[in-house]
């Protein structure tokens, strides 16, 4: 097992004055689980790519990176391939071959192993990753989560000492994401493989992490344990506040530093009960929202894709009000995206009625890349209409108007896509999983754009897996299950009634406070009780 040591390392891309990485010092010991976090564009990916020299970008380098005792740039390709595994963000693009077994074998073929050793390793991988039933399937037919597990398996088949993962779950739904991250934990704990990972969803990886690295503008701002990082959230790390898990955020706003910072919900509960002994105020009193006019009404919608399949929607009835943000929640394959497409008129229901006035409806799809057809963002916007300035300002994309839509970051692309959709001047805005892959900072900005639209009387309907986002920013939440809407309530009331399907803040405080759903509400009640 080799360790990695980075000493005074700096890097700048060609023709750019600003350094992408500034004076990085970092050492990773064998078997450590290291999480690198930071806002989009802080240099995380650039740093990771330097740890796998075959992927390192061109540019000017200073300082050194040691792999064991050798300079990492002198490590031959064979050793790099075997010892350093790298998993990228997009599940589709890193798949090379058409069959699952061939994909696992691909790296081993390159290393020149004979068929019988490859067969053994492929078998081992398929079993360990639980994909043996998919062994002879076409890679194109797998779900996103299965694809990403396959990518991990094909890297692990080469038995690397170090596993590098660059936002591996940003394209996955939460269930597949936690499955994937669970497997990464298992690889670290059971096999002792060093893990270096970047990710926006920190709730799930913090409990497993040994070391947290916080980066900002190409520099390392902090390096230490998760709990220690949490206790600095009110101070030097305040710029990362929104990205950190709920228990850590609540800990930091209460400003009590006598106890160590909780990382998980379980720790959070213990901390809260030792903080508040005899709660006097346990309930948040909320005003009832006033009823607005109906924008869209669904009556008994039935739908299926193939004639011989079962119905996906089996009698969906719902009312969406004007001037409100409504979230439709539900498991994978529950038919949420299908429902959006029916509201948007892209599919026609088999049975039932979509009642709406003569209104303009626009849909922001899950894969926003599909919205862009031109060479620059500006040209793309001009395809919809001449007056792009206002929408561009609302979505804060004036800076990137002249960039190619594929060259901007994921968060920026999401914004540009939203801008394009807003330019169609919709009365009803449909959003399919809009927060996927967004960093915490931009989520906030995105939510404020949606709130502005709602204030103007527009109807926003979003389909989402992001419980925290829905709890904080939506007005109404609906649960789609078994092809029907089984519950439709005001957002906070909806989550306050649930035990599993609810926010971390609520799970953490449920035994003390009755109905606190967001961090802010937990904090408010804490403050009242501590007085």
């Amino acid at each position: 097992m080799e360790s990695i040591k980075i000493k005074n390392f700096s890097f700048s891309y060609p023709l750019k004055n600003e350094k992408a990485l500034k004076n990085i010092n970092l050492s990773v010991n064998p078997g450590e689980y290291v999480v690198i976090c930071g806002k989009s564009g802080c240099g995380k990916t650039t740093l990771l790519k330097h740890l796998k020299p075959v992927l390192a970008p061109h540019g000017e380098r200073k300082g050194e990176i040691l792999f064991g005792s050798k300079d990492i740039f002198t490590v031959p390709l064979r050793e790099q391939t075997e010892k350093i595994g790298y998993v990228m963000q997009d599940p589709d693009n890193q798949t090379v071959t058409d069959k699952v077994f061939h994909e696992i074998a691909f790296g081993l073929e390159n290393l020149g192993l004979d068929s019988s050793s490859i067969r053994l390793r492929a078998a081992e991988m398929a079993e360990y990753f639980g994909i043996s039933s998919l062994f002879e399937k076409d890679t194109a037919k797998l779900s996103g989560g299965q694809k990403q597990l396959l990518n991990l398996a094909s890297v692990m088949a080469m038995h690397p000492d170090i596993l590098i993962l660059d936002e591996p779950v940003s394209q996955l739904d939460p269930v597949a994401a936690s499955d994937f991250l669970g497997t990464v934990n298992k690889i670290n704990k059971e096999l002792g493989v060093t893990v270096i990972i970047t990710e926006h969803r920190l709730e799930e990886i913090f409990p497993a992490a040994d070391k947290i690295i916080v980066m900002d503008k190409g520099e390392i701002k902090y390096s230490g344990t998760p709990s220690d990082a949490g206790s600095r959230l009110s101070g030097e790390l305040s710029f990362m506040f929104r990205a950190f898990p709920s228990p850590m955020r609540i800990y930091s706003i209460t400003g009590d530093n006598t106890l160590p910072c909780p990382v998980t919900v379980r720790d959070g509960r213990q901390w809260l009960s030792s903080l508040i002994n005899n709660p006097t105020e346990t309930e948040i009193i909320r005003e009832k929202q006033k009823k607005n006019e109906k924008a869209i009404e669904l009556r008994d919608i039935y739908f299926r894709y193939e004639k011989k399949e079962e119905n996906i929607l089996k009698g969906v009835s719902a009312v969406f009000e004007e001037g409100k943000i409504t979230a439709v929640l539900g498991g994978n394959g529950a038919g949420k995206s299908t429902l959006l497409n029916i509201i948007g008129g892209i599919y026609k229901p088999l049975f039932g009625k979509v009642k709406k006035k003569n209104i303009k409806i626009s849909l922001l799809p899950q894969q926003v890349q599909s919205l862009f057809t031109e060479k620059t963002v500006k040209e793309d916007l001009l395809r919809i209409g001449k007056d792009y300035k206002e929408a561009a300002e609302i979505t804060e994309i004036t800076r990137i108007l002249d960039c190619h839509p594929y060259d901007i970051s994921g968060g920026e692309r999401q914004r540009a896509a939203l801008c394009k959709v807003l330019m169609t001047d919709p009365d009803v805005l449909l959003l399919d999983e809009p927060t996927k892959g967004m960093d915490a900072e931009f989520k906030e900005a995105f939510a404020s754009v949606l709130k502005k639209l709602a204030q103007q009387g527009k109807t926003v309907i979003t389909v989402s897996h992001d419980i925290e986002f829905c709890a904080c920013h939506c007005h109404v939440c609906m649960m789609l299950f078994d092809g029907k809407i089984v519950s439709s309530k005001e957002a906070k009331e909806f989550f306050a009634g649930n035990m599993f399907y609810t926010t971390a803040a609520h799970r953490m405080s449920r035994n003390i406070f009755k109905n606190a759903v967001t961090d802010r509400e937990v904090y408010k009640l804490c403050k009242k009780n501590l007085k």
Partner: protein, 292 residues
């Protein structure tokens, strides 16, 4: 015994090479009947109703058609059956030769239909990979590409439709323009994504030497037996052909060599060759029943 489709690609390949080549070059009526009947029987065994459909809607009409057309257009042969209105004569030999052509074509097509079912694209790829590893890799990547980008095209069309700029929106010129946009996006996305795929290949050591080719197929002693049997039958049939057993004349009159003990043995060997897949499959069925 185990079914022919579970055999190693090489076993399948050697058999189909023999069956198809012999089926094409031997026009001797006995050989022709053996080839036609065994291929049809195996095809029905493999595909059931679809195999029967092929017999009645492809092989039979094709044979009748070539028989009639050849009878009406060629006029060689000494056995005149009737006089045609244009003054030419309708002869038995030309009709027979037409039927022979039809049967040969049907038999070969049927063999290919069986081949398609048992020698799948994976197996063909495996056979290619040994000789041409790079070509085989390109084929594998292309096989992944097609369904993936069809799906992406659908995704883009839906996204564009949501904005009112899909292929079904606007005037005819607008529709064509919108369609063109979708194709151009698809191409630039494929190129863009290709960069990442090539990174992923580099990261997994593509370009190291020597490279091996993994196959999921195991060559068993059963394969060795089947291949030996195939080659043994091949040898006998070729020897027979060299001795003139397969000799046949359709023009100007029908003539074959006299049937001897040797030629009888060659017929039997040819029959055995063509029955190999059917016998292995039926053998598996019987064993299945015996075990239950």
């Amino acid at each position: 015994m185990r079914s022919f489709s579970t055999c190693h690609p090489a076993t399948n390949f050697i058999f189909y090479m023999s069956a198809v080549i012999f089926g094409m070059i031997f026009l001797h009526p006995v050989f022709l009947c053996i080839s036609f009947l065994t291929s049809t029987a195996y095809n029905i065994k493999l595909k059931g109703a679809k195999g029967l459909k092929m017999l009645f809607f492809l092989a039979v009409p094709l044979t009748l058609f070539t028989g009639i057309v050849n009878g009406l257009t060629s006029h060689y042969g000494i056995t005149v059956l009737a006089s045609l209105p244009d003054g030419n004569s309708l002869t038995l030999e030309s009709i027979v030769y037409g039927v022979v052509t039809g049967l040969t074509a049907s038999a070969v097509i049927t063999w290919f239909s069986c081949l398609n079912e048992t020698l799948t694209s994976d197996k063909i790829l495996y056979l290619t990979a040994g000789k041409m590893p790079k070509t085989a890799l390109i084929i594998t990547m292309a096989l992944r590409f097609a369904p993936l980008y069809l799906q992406k095209a659908k995704e883009i069309q839906q996204a564009q439709k949501g904005l009112g700029t899909g292929v079904t929106d606007g005037s005819i010129i607008g529709k064509i323009k919108n369609g063109g946009k979708i194709i151009s996006v698809l191409i630039s996305r494929a190129l863009e994504n290709g960069i990442e795929t090539s990174d992923s290949m580099k990261a997994r050591g593509y370009g190291l030497k020597p490279k091996t080719n993994y196959s999921n197929y195991v060559f068993t002693s059963y394969d060795a037996v089947i291949i030996s049997l195939t080659l043994l039958c091949d040898a006998f049939v070729i020897a027979g052909a060299a001795k003139g057993v397969t000799y046949v004349l359709y023009n100007p009159f029908f003539k074959v060599n006299q049937v001897t003990a040797f030629s009888g043995a060659v017929f039997i060997f040819y029959g055995a060759l063509c029955l190999i897949p059917l016998i292995t499959d039926l053998g598996e069925d019987l064993k299945w029943k015996a075990l239950k």
